[in-house]
Symmetry: C2
Subunit: 152 residues, 2 copies
């Protein structure tokens, strides 16, 4: 039995509330970012790859490494990078030592792109979360980390 319903709808399990809340919140914030990136013809995944490559420096990264660092997994790195190569924001070169791996690097054009986007993206995030005090954001960031710290 569900006890007396305090609200119209019976409360869903706590874990489900967290799951749905996560999906909704992530989607809400992503919408804004998508709009911003679309003005430059970039998808969130492409933007993410560019930032990863910038962080990796001139040595570049293999497909696998990029995939591992991405915020959301992408099951087809090859064609994601194909499109980015066509736009001239990355280059690819097969490694001499291990000819299985292809090293991808961000081009100067790609870095320009990122530079133009850095401030607008920061501003957007600040606007999206300006109604929450820093202390709560810190708590939230910590709890989100705990979610992903699941064993196994």
């Amino acid at each position: 039995m569900d006890a007396r319903p305090r609200a119209a709808r019976p409360a869903s399990p706590l874990e489900e509330r967290v799951f749905v809340g996560l999906q909704r919140s992530a989607d809400l914030l992503l919408q804004g970012v998508e709009r911003l990136l679309k003005s430059q013809g970039l998808s969130p995944a492409q933007y993410n790859v560019l930032r990863i490559l910038r962080g990796a420096g001139p040595g570049g990264l293999s497909c696998r490494e990029i995939g591992q660092r991405m915020v959301t997994r992408d099951p087809d790195m090859t064609r994601l990078l194909d499109r980015m190569e066509q736009r001239g924001v990355v280059t690819r070169a097969r490694q001499k030592a291990d000819r299985r791996v292809v090293t991808t690097r961000v081009t100067s054009g790609g870095l320009e792109f990122l530079k133009r986007l850095d401030q607008p993206v920061r501003d957007l995030h600040r606007r999206q979360l300006r109604h929450m005090p820093a202390a709560r954001l810190k708590t939230l960031a910590r709890l989100l980390g705990e979610v992903r710290a699941a064993p196994e």
Copy 2:
């Protein structure tokens, strides 16, 4: 100034940490749900629609209403419902009063589907979050609500 770098990487802005943490956590949990639903040939969006329609009762809902209640927005309700109608989990009928709107209802087959999935989904969510005590989950759920309570 950034003070002394306590870790190798300089800390990113708090808002960005929250944004990325949200995307990563949402994606991580969604992966599990996708795997589970795929065993029944359902996408998360389709599952979401079924649950919305079950909650709405026998009166059904219009496309717009379904779209508004979805966890993540879907820009093409028509074809999402097309596919579900073909699978026999929903029916559609144009309203007499206002012939612009199409009412969608879940079929008994669709309800069966849901019934079989209810417990596995609950179990999955519990497993995904079992490493976090209830008090933290409550705090997290509350903070996630606050994120979406942004003015305008």
